[in-house]
């Protein structure tokens, strides 16, 4: 019964969307705002990767909101999983030496890889979110491989809030220094395709990288607790 009702409902939705999608031809050049970004993006933001310039400059406010959403998820997760009873220290079986050494060897390499990705976010594909996710996966590896090693919760929290504050302070500096606009790109744009270019974009992307990395690492840490 439930299946039939849902399928009928889905069919109606599908029909409606199909009617609408007919008017959006696939693969045709039709963009209006997008063209502006492609044509003017390099002069206005100084980033070679136009997606980065859209994410951090034209639509930077969305990104601020998005970082906040992840922050809420981390906070909400620890609020939901917070237990009133005291934590019991469980005896953890240590992992084998090969695994342990391998993880210790790989951990800094993965961190470097993540950092590379978000430092070069304005030049190549990738950026704060991807780099942050890679950093978080390094922590996931240590949780799985070197059991018993934990990052201190406090350090995660401090990184999280400091990097969030960097984002907001850079934005407010734009309001104060570079004319009346929040998130204004007030630093010099530099030469296209060089590492130190695009004004505030690399700074914000590094902050986002740290924030996303610490938040997802914190989420994994909370979920792994007492499991």
């Amino acid at each position: 019964m439930r299946k039939i009702v849902s399928l009928i409902l889905l069919a109606i939705v599908a029909l409606g969307i199909a009617l609408c999608v007919m008017n959006i031809p696939f693969g045709a050049p039709k963009t209006k705002v997008g063209n502006h970004y492609i044509n003017k993006g390099r002069e206005e933001t100084g980033a070679a990767n136009i997606v980065t310039s859209v994410v951090l400059n034209y639509r930077g406010f969305d990104t601020l909101g998005e970082v906040t959403v992840l922050f809420i998820a981390a906070v909400g997760l620890s609020a939901v999983l917070a237990t009133r009873k005291k934590k019991v220290e469980k005896e953890i079986e240590p992992s084998s030496m090969i695994l342990n050494t391998g993880c210790r060897f790989l951990f800094p390499l993965i961190l470097f890889f993540g950092a590379y990705i978000f430092v070069h976010g304005h030049l190549t594909p990738g950026g704060g979110f991807q780099g942050g996710a890679i950093i978080a996966s390094a922590f996931l590896l240590t949780y799985l491989g070197c059991r018993g090693r934990r990052v201190s919760e406090r350090r995660i929290k401090v990184t999280e809030s400091l990097s969030g504050l960097v984002f907001i302070v850079v934005g407010l500096l734009g309001l104060a220094v570079g004319g009346q606009y929040f998130l204004n790109n007030f630093l010099p744009k530099g030469i296209l395709l060089s590492l130190f270019s695009a004004g505030i974009i690399p700074i914000i992307y590094i902050a986002i990288g740290f924030k996303v990395g610490s938040e997802i690492a914190g989420i994994i840490d909370k979920l792994m607790e007492e499991s």
């Binding site: 400059n57 909101g65 809420i72 906070v75 997760l77 620890s78 917070a82 734009g174």
Partner: protein
């Protein structure tokens, strides 16, 4: 001049900084929401006289719309942000004492972030940005509903989360279709070009957006989550969810219908939807024995009344609807705050367990009575002028249909009066009054309750100062040409 972007950025920054404050001292963190909301209230109050003359358009990053994100601090936006800051501030004072269990630091962060999301939704002028802030609002309310971590709380949070997630997915599909059709995400720019495509392809994103936003706004077929979520959350959270969160959802629905799509053909449908929501809410509230569920269903009824008023699509109706929205926010916040300590003292949400509260907690019971009377629409409280405006607007249409509809609205009010009088009767006239000593709520709870009572009575007696802002707000909502012109220049 104060930049309206500070209304969003300052609370956001402060809530990011809460863990750092926590390192200094555990006592600071619960004053952070109060500080941020005082700031917001102050800035909003400062901006009100300016925005009545004309909306302030803020370009984020210095890019002119439609190329950058912009905020539209018009009369509607600032009215809502002032309301959010006011109710939020009072409830956060209440929470100083009320929230003791669990991870209190996390509660205060989530609480502030919820209100920041709500402020973002009402100020933004970009449809995807609205989606992002809407997600901030929704996700923090899922977490806050589950805050107590008991069976009921977790169960209703799960229910709320599933329905909310489906809603936001539908909304995102709608936004994608709009972008595909118009190549822009700015609400004013979409509104300007809305007539350039065929009406069927407009209709689909409209339905998707309204369905997605309607989940949070609790319009009739989409409100299954509301009674559970509002009744199992901590009372301070229920006050915010009932007072602010559903109103913000409703704002988004109205903005989408009035400003972006500018469709008058579905307004009639909206009026009927509002009436159905009203009657279902009131009838279900009548049969409740749980005091918080009763208040939650009464919220559904009131939302129905507001939708009814806004759906009339005439200036008087919109003024009445917005007034009713403010009056419901204040009165329902007062009711939930009063009920919070009653439940705490009696240890049960059962209405029959509240016997003798008139003697045990006289001030709180008085507050409950005032809130209830105000919701029913008795003078001299704020509910009277707002309901009066709505009914006058409906009658001014001079159509037989609306006269019949008004009769139904009055029927809803009668039902509402019946169940509220039943509760008030239990509070004062039931039970054995001899063996009870007074256990009044603590002073941190009485201060916001007292301020709410003063506001409710003051605006109820003298509603004149509200009319200027309400009139310009309603003309902003109804005059989309002016909105498009002021954003795009």
């Amino acid at each position: 001049m104060v930049n309206p972007v500070l209304l969003i950025v300052v609370p956001l920054g402060l809530s990011f900084a809460v863990p750092l404050f926590g390192l200094i001292s555990k006592r600071i963190e619960k004053y952070v929401p109060i500080t941020a909301l005082i700031f917001n209230l102050f800035v909003s109050a400062l901006l009100i006289p300016k925005v009545i003359q004309g909306p302030i358009i803020v370009f984020i990053g210095g890019f002119r719309p439609p190329f950058g994100i912009n905020l539209v601090a018009g009369p509607v936006g600032i009215l809502f942000s002032a309301l959010i800051a006011l109710v939020g501030l009072l409830v956060s004072i209440y929470a100083l004492d009320y929230i003791r269990e669990g991870a209190t630091q996390l509660y205060h962060m989530l609480y502030l972030l919820l209100l920041t999301g709500a402020t973002g939704v009402v100020l933004t002028g970009d449809i995807f940005n609205l989606f992002v802030f809407f997600e901030i609002l929704c996700i923090s309310s899922y977490a806050l509903v589950a805050y107590l971590g008991n069976r009921a709380g977790i169960e209703s949070a799960v229910k709320y989360l599933i329905q909310g997630a489906i809603g936001s997915s539908l909304m995102l599909i709608g936004i994608g279709l709009l972008y595909g059709l118009f190549g822009t995400l700015n609400m004013a720019d979409i509104a300007r070009n809305i007539d350039s495509v065929s009406s069927i392809s407009i209709f689909v994103p409209l339905v998707l957006l309204i369905t997605g936003l309607g989940v949070e706004a609790a319009i009739f077929p989409l409100n299954a989550w509301l009674p559970d979520a509002h009744s199992s959350a901590p009372s301070s959270v229920s006050a915010i969810l009932s007072g602010i969160a559903i109103k913000v959802g409703l704002y988004a629905v109205v903005r989408v219908i009035f400003t972006i799509f500018g469709v008058s053909s579905i307004l009639q449908f909206l009026v009927f939807l509002g009436l159905v929501t009203l009657l279902i809410g009131e009838v279900s509230a009548f049969s409740q024995n749980n005091i918080k569920r009763l208040l939650a269903y009464s919220s559904i009824g009131q939302i129905g009344l507001i939708v009814f008023a806004l759906g009339m699509g005439i200036s008087h109706g919109v003024v009445g609807g917005l007034f009713q929205l403010i009056s419901h926010a204040l009165s329902k916040a007062l009711l939930f705050l009063a009920v919070g300590y009653m439940i705490y003292r009696s240890g049960s949400m059962d209405i029959s367990k509240l016997e003798g509260m008139g003697k045990r907690m006289p001030l709180t019971s008085l507050a409950f009575t005032i809130g209830a009377f105000s919701l029913v629409g008795l003078p001299p409280f704020i509910g009277f002028p707002s309901k009066f405006l709505i009914i006058r607007a409906a009658l001014s249409k001079h159509e037989l249909l609306y006269t019949v509809l008004v009769a139904f609205v009055l029927l809803g009010t009668v039902i509402e009066g019946a169940y509220f009088f039943r509760v008030v009767q239990v509070l004062y006239f039931k039970g054995n009054p001899t063996d009870l000593q007074r256990e009044e709520a603590p002073v941190q709870a009485l201060i916001p309750i007292f301020i709410l009572i003063v506001l409710i009575v003051m605006v109820g007696v003298y509603p004149k100062p509200m009319t200027a802002i309400l009139n310009s707000a309603s003309s902003e909502l109804l005059n989309r040409i002016e909105y498009i012109r002021s954003v795009l220049g």
